[in-house]
Amino acid sequence: MNRKQKVIGVLSLLTVATLLTAPFLGMENIAFEALLHPPWDNARYLALQAEDGRFALETQILWTLRIPRVLVAFLAGSLLGLGGMAFQALFRNPLATPYTLGVASGASLGAAAYVSFGVVIGFMGIDGLPLAAFAGALLAMSFVYGITHVTAERRLPGATLLLAGVAMSFFFSSLILLIQYLSDFTNSFRILRWLMGGLEVVGFTQVWQLLPFALVGSALIFSLNREFDLLLTGESVAMGRGVRVDKVKKKVFLATSLMIGGVVAFCGPIGFVGMMAPHMCRLLLGPGHSYLAPATFLLGGIFLTWCDTLARTLISPAEMPVGVITALLGGPFFLWLLLGRTRGGLHVQ
């Protein structure tokens, strides 16, 4: 086993450990045994309640609140990480992520509009909210696509793209503010709370709702490992080696819109995971995406799961928005990336 395989191995073990411990930690630490008593069977549950009421409650908390929440947190972190990795490779810039380029804001706008206008639609059993977020992400993505064309044509430096992303974020944010302002008090508060990023998951519905976005999006990203490697050598070189750069771009934009749309709809625009997870993996593994992609998937998941565990334990019985924690960690990290040309391979152009 070489070093890279070891890193993947360690991350896999950490993933298992995370998924096995995080659900049991919280305001009330739950006994491990609760795992053996899923409260689905009403008769058994009633029997358990008669026997030990407190324990029965714990199984209820574990199975309807903690486990789904940890699963959503893990998936969301994984998808944010993958989306960041894909953008960093595509734009050859460690600061280019769906969050920094305004795609997450676009998704938020879609979701906020959906919440506020209160139209309830669905498609093939998928809730309208993630679809609205997906539409918003696609809208933002088409702007990013347009901007990359302009920057390529006029040979503008990489920083232009980032600044354009910042401008777009502001633009979408102000639209969200407008929607919020026009909403009634309840919706306004819902939007505000949700913009802070949080994982108030109840039951497995959200897990199943997020899954199709996660599966399609991450499968697309995982299928592009070689193309990402080649894109790091420059677009024209990649073309010369046989990569259909435009097709790859479209696939990435579609996959990222799906992943970010899904995550934003259920967890709000959680920042910085998409930038930190892939970059840390790059420091460990180097630039090759055949290892980087699975590592980023795992580390992103682990990272967000623990951030969320902190969020619901630090000031318990109250909860912090998880976005606050990732941003508190991510802000300094962003500055560190921006100011230091790091040895991870990618650097700011």
Binding site: R92, S223, R226, D229, L230, L232, T233, G234, S236, V237, M239, G240, R241, G242, V243, R244, G286, P287, G288, G344, G345, L346, H347, Q349
Partner: protein, 275 residues
């Protein structure tokens, strides 16, 4: 013709009113080394962009081994033609061996790891370019000349019948540029590669090419073997030196032409000078 690698027929490129290329026709046969020379702005880069399909708005026909360029899939194109870009910009974050292995992309099946044959091609490319000892270094730690060799090695690993090189020595100091020239000589003479080299080094073009193409203001001024350029004033015309023409000399050993700008030997009579 079976042994024609590249054929260009009546290629023209117009952007708005500007004519960047006008009715260019030439072909390259297997095993040839052809140099493309000409002043800046003559259309050399545009021609390369058409060949690499970065530029697709042109009239005329380009075929690679008889297959029209637009009908090729990107991977098929890469299997027929590799190109070495001008050494510029940031170094990709890879190690030398990783980077050269990426050259095999067009030969790999999706999701299948490189085969022993792929590894062997990468090895021979590294050996041919003298890069064995650099294999674990990252590109960022290499000099410009070494990096250029890595680019050439990656193009070699691509194993295409035709290799395009875009000013391979432009950003290099004389020693490194000579090393690259030596490598190209090896590729052509020993490894029997077919090369189309865009270059500003007229003497190298004259000494080592089978044919020299002269491009001026979007038109092909000449397509001649170097020895034919000894007569007439085509070279002078290409670079607008009619008033003070190049001094042409014949290399005694190679029996090949080379030129000296008249500013060096200002008062000598122009024309053929024996050494």
């Amino acid at each position: 013709m079976a042994d024609t690698v590249l054929s260009i027929q009546d290629l023209s490129v117009r952007i708005g009113d500007a004519v960047l290329l006008q009715n260019i026709s030439f072909s390259i046969r297997t095993g040839e080394r052809v140099s493309l020379i000409g002043p800046n702005g003559a259309g050399k880069t545009t021609l390369l962009k058409c060949l690499t399909r970065i530029h697709t708005q042109y009239t005329g026909a380009i075929t690679l081994q008889g297959i029209p360029l637009p009908t090729l899939k990107q991977k098929e194109l890469a299997r027929l033609m590799s190109w070495v870009p001008q050494g510029e910009g940031d170094a990709p974050p890879f190690r030398v061996e990783e980077f050269v292995t990426l050259g095999r992309y067009c030969r790999l099946k999706p999701f299948v790891a490189p085969s022993p044959e792929d590894r062997a091609k990468v090895e021979s490319a590294l050996t041919l370019c003298g890069l064995e000892e650099f294999r674990s270094r990252t590109l960022a730690t290499l000099s410009g000349g070494e990096r250029q060799k890595v680019h050439i090695a990656a193009a070699l690993a691509q194993d295409a019948p035709l290799m395009l090189l875009d000013e391979p020595t432009t950003f290099l100091d004389p020693r490194q540029s000579m090393e690259i020239e030596d490598l190209l000589f090896e590729l052509h003479q020993r490894a029997k590669r077919t090369l189309l080299v865009v270059t500003h080094d007229i003497n190298r073009a004259l000494l080592e090419s089978d044919r020299v193409l002269g491009l001026k203001q979007g038109k092909l001024l000449f397509d001649l073997p170097p020895e034919k350029l000894i007569e007439g004033t085509l070279l002078d015309e290409l670079f607008d030196r009619q008033k003070r023409p190049f001094i042409k000399a014949v290399h005694p050993g190679l029996n090949r032409l080379f030129i000296v700008p008249d500013t060096v030997l200002g008062n000598l009579p122009s024309g053929e000078v024996g050494l």
